[in-house]
Symmetry: C2
Subunit: 202 residues, 2 copies
């Protein structure tokens, strides 16, 4: 298990829980969520099966912890960028660069976060759906501000959806061997999105 994955849950305070979450990401990515057992996860984390239950009541609880942490991180990224300095175009450039590079760096986590959403327990699914709506609202409000102030020219709703879509889909195709690296990919995607929003045309 890579340090990169284990370091991806800075909001989870117990080191053992972070290790289990990182091991679960690897197991889910390799074998699928449904085919993974709690024993697979604890073994991959170098822990006893019983140790897992100290932190998580079930496999679904591990998935929920990964998914909630990932969705909260995505929301934090867009909120920080949208509240940053500069014009809507400046802030959107930061937003896309950070979202794209997070999804490239943490593509294995992001895949679980994005594609295993239907396996979540109902209450956690509701929380995740709410985090997604809030994330989309932040992006939409920033584009709206840009359109209102004449910085952008686009259909706000579709453009917000497309902007997030571009960043999220990186998790599907990006691998450790992909080029360019996360930071450079983020920059290029930011340039593409600004053009898409009509920022380049004025």
């Amino acid at each position: 298990m890579s340090e990169l994955v284990a370091g991806a849950f800075p909001d989870v305070t117990a080191a053992a829980a972070r290790r289990l979450m990182a091991a679960a990401v690897e197991s889910f990515a390799d074998n699928g969520y449904h085919a993974t057992t709690t024993r697979d996860i604890s073994t991959a984390a170098g822990m006893s099966p019983a140790a897992l239950y100290v932190h998580f009541p079930s496999k679904a609880a591990v998935l929920s912890a990964i998914s909630l942490s990932g969705h909260e991180r995505a929301l934090a990224i867009v909120e920080a960028a949208a509240a940053g300095p500069g014009t809507p175009a400046d802030r959107m450039r930061v937003l896309v660069a950070e979202m794209a590079s997070w999804h490239a760096t943490h593509h294995r986590i992001a895949r679980i976060v994005q594609y295993e959403i239907t396996a979540l327990p109902k209450a956690d699914y509701t929380t995740v759906a709410d985090l997604r709506r809030r994330t989309e609202r932040v992006v939409r409000a920033l584009i709206e501000e840009g359109v209102t102030t004449g910085v952008f020219a686009c259909d706000v709703r579709s453009a917000a959806r497309a902007t997030l879509s571009l960043c999220v889909d990186i998790a599907r195709w990006y691998t450790a061997a992909s080029t360019p690296g996360p930071a450079e990919l983020g920059k290029r995607y930011a340039t593409l999105v600004l053009a898409m929003l009509g920022a380049g045309s004025r």
Copy 2:
């Protein structure tokens, strides 16, 4: 099982095979590929477990048939659009409109096609990877042509990736309840992509 899904494999000649593929799409979407059995698929298709083996030697073979059909369809859509009449911008508008609307209309199939790729048998994975490369090459060549002729202004490689990414990611978030409908979504996405490629700025 919906007629829409069963009608989505026009290249598969045996009606029973199409029914089994459509039933598999529903089962994989509801329970995940790994948790689905060949019995689940045949039952959902209203057929005996033995009837499945007349058409497919295994569950993996059903997945392969769905994945190959979907990837061939995607390649056919981009090839037809790229070979169509008009400027690179005209052809790109058709390409995105058709790819986006196919992924919206067939979002359940597209989800299997896009996200269950690691479960494919090795030989079929190689074929699918080749179909993906060819699809991306067609899109890249069309953008390249647009840049060369001064119709587009963008980084060709990132823009090709982003264009396909936008269309493919529709399968992740689109549901039967989503608005706008597939055709209108395709139109809006085509407009966004043309702006992203720098077509609107001249």
